[in-house]
Amino acid sequence: MRPPLRIGRADFYLRRASGLVLVAFFAAYLVLLAREGRGIWLGDVGRSAGWAGRALELTLVALLTYHACSGLAQWALERLAPARHHTLAFVLSVALSAAAALAHLPSLYGWP
């Protein structure tokens, strides 16, 4: 199942790696929700844990966005077939994940 192209392989491994990180975080979220009833993102980690928390939250936003975009691109590629579209999907996923992380930056400093 490994894609033949280098860029496709990068996307393949990045999607899986981001998925594993998100699974670990989601598990922590579920445990926290069950034990303490606290909300999403470990209880506003980005706003209460300083620069490290903000970096963590932005990273998670970027990973989640990349993971979702990459999955959608995979779905599209299965229908469009040409392998070279891996490059476009990869670039778009990376760009969207970076944009999503930056778009969330102001909210971590209290700007609506």
Binding site: G19, F26, L30, L33, A34, G37, I40, D44
Partner: protein, 395 residues
């Protein structure tokens, strides 16, 4: 193939529910919205993670077909188990406070061990004011603290009794001037500001040594800290004297207040705020804006009374001054230092703190101050912010 579809469908449900929950549902939304979306997030997330992990581990073709056939059922069972073992929530009657800790209330059946306190919140006093569990929680199974209920400030049950807190950091709030009491007495370099807020001039000196001497020469601004506890604080108030100087990017403060008894837990809390109008306060109210930690015992060490857990005031900064030194409760640049010493009739705190980079519109610093007496704590606070000007000539 069905496994792939389960994975993809759950991903779409997860992302949709997640985005809606994060961006369009907040503490002021009906509890049913929270419950529906959280259930969708949990179930779809578990299904997606389980099927995804299955794909990663088996790479689709590495296991016999019957294992793949079982996977969606295993994922669904895992999700169901987590949901069943996790919190169960439901909306309760939101028409008004239901005193959960009054005699016969179901909450007390499982929460007798709270010994009358829920974090730093006194249950007896709140029950006496008809504020009970359901006032703040939409919990029905009584097992876990869930879904703190937001009250817009206009209808908040908090300000029915804590009208002083309404004025504490919200000078634009209606009634703040009336609740703030008399303005600070006017001393050298001090004049009253609108809405009852005190304005203090921090004289500028050159060195730390000069700062100590200048603080002893300055006539401090004097004001009352108000409390709803009329037993621990005589007539529900105590008198504070506050002086300030600046030097080399540092704000040096001397605070003295009356407290006839030397009790464990006596301390002063000082908060510097970049802005006195806190975003979202009107919509989310006291608890969701700042005081979520007041009723959360598990965040506190034994014997410690956390007075504030900053949720949404990203630039707020709080210092706690005890005999052990100064602790910063929220992130800030630089470190504070200082001492708390016992005097015959009260306490005196001397502290230095790096000038916060965030300033109010006049270029000064806004302070909130409260003092604590004993454990469990009783506190008195200045019912209006203190604006410290930083451009004053030395004494």
């Amino acid at each position: 193939m069905r496994l792939a579809w389960a994975q993809r469908l759950s991903a779409i449900v997860f992302m949709a529910a997640f985005i809606v929950h994060v961006h369009w549902v907040d503490g002021a939304s009906p509890a049913s919205h929270h419950v529906t979306l959280l259930l969708a997030i949990v179930v779809s997330g578990v299904v997606h993670a389980a099927t995804g992990l299955f794909v990663v581990v088996t790479d689709y073709e590495a296991r016999p077909r019957f294992v793949r056939a079982l996977a969606p059922f295993l994922a669904a069972a895992a999700g169901g188990a987590i949901v069943a073992a996790g919190p169960r929530v439901a909306a309760t009657d939101a028409s008004g406070p239901t005193p959960g800790h009054l005699p016969g209330a179901p909450c007390a059946a499982c929460h007798e061990g709270t010994e009358g306190r829920h974090g730093s919140v006194s249950l007896e006093e709140h029950a006496a004011a008809s504020v009970g569990c359901e006032t703040c929680h939409d919990v029905v199974d009584g097992r876990r603290p869930l879904l703190a209920r937001s009250w817009p400030i206009e209808t908040s049950p908090c300000v029915q009794c804590h009208e002083d807190a309404w004025g504490g950091f919200m000078p634009s709030a209606p009634g703040a001037a009336a609740s703030a009491g008399p303005a600070a007495s006017v001393g050298e370099g001090v004049r009253p500001l609108g809405l009852g807020a005190a304005q203090l001039c921090a004289a500028r000196v050159i060195t730390a040594k000069e700062a100590d001497a200048a603080l002893s020469r300055l006539e401090p601004v004097t004001f009352d800290l108000r409390s709803s506890d009329r037993e621990r604080f005589l007539d529900g108030k105590t008198r504070m004297r506050l002086g300030a100087v600046t030097y080399e990017g540092t704000l040096a403060l001397e605070l003295a207040w009356d407290d006839p008894t030397d009790d464990p837990g006596d301390r002063v809390d000082l908060m510097t705020l970049a802005e006195v109008d806190v975003p979202h306060f009107a919509r989310l109210g006291c608890v969701d804006t700042c005081h979520l930690g007041d009723a959360t015992p598990h965040r506190m060490s034994p014997g410690e009374a956390a007075s504030l857990f900053v949720v949404d005031v990203a630039r707020a900064r709080e210092l706690r001054v005890t005999e052990a030194g100064i602790a910063e409760l929220s992130s800030a640049a630089g470190r504070a230092s200082g001492t708390l010493t016992r005097e015959p009739t009260g306490w005196r705190a001397k502290l230095t703190v790096p000038l916060p980079p965030a300033r109010d519109p006049s270029g000064g610093v806004t302070l909130g101050v409260s003092v604590f007496d004993g454990l469990p704590k009783a506190h008195a606070l200045r019912p209006a912010p203190i604006s410290v000007r930083l451009d004053c000539a030395g004494p």
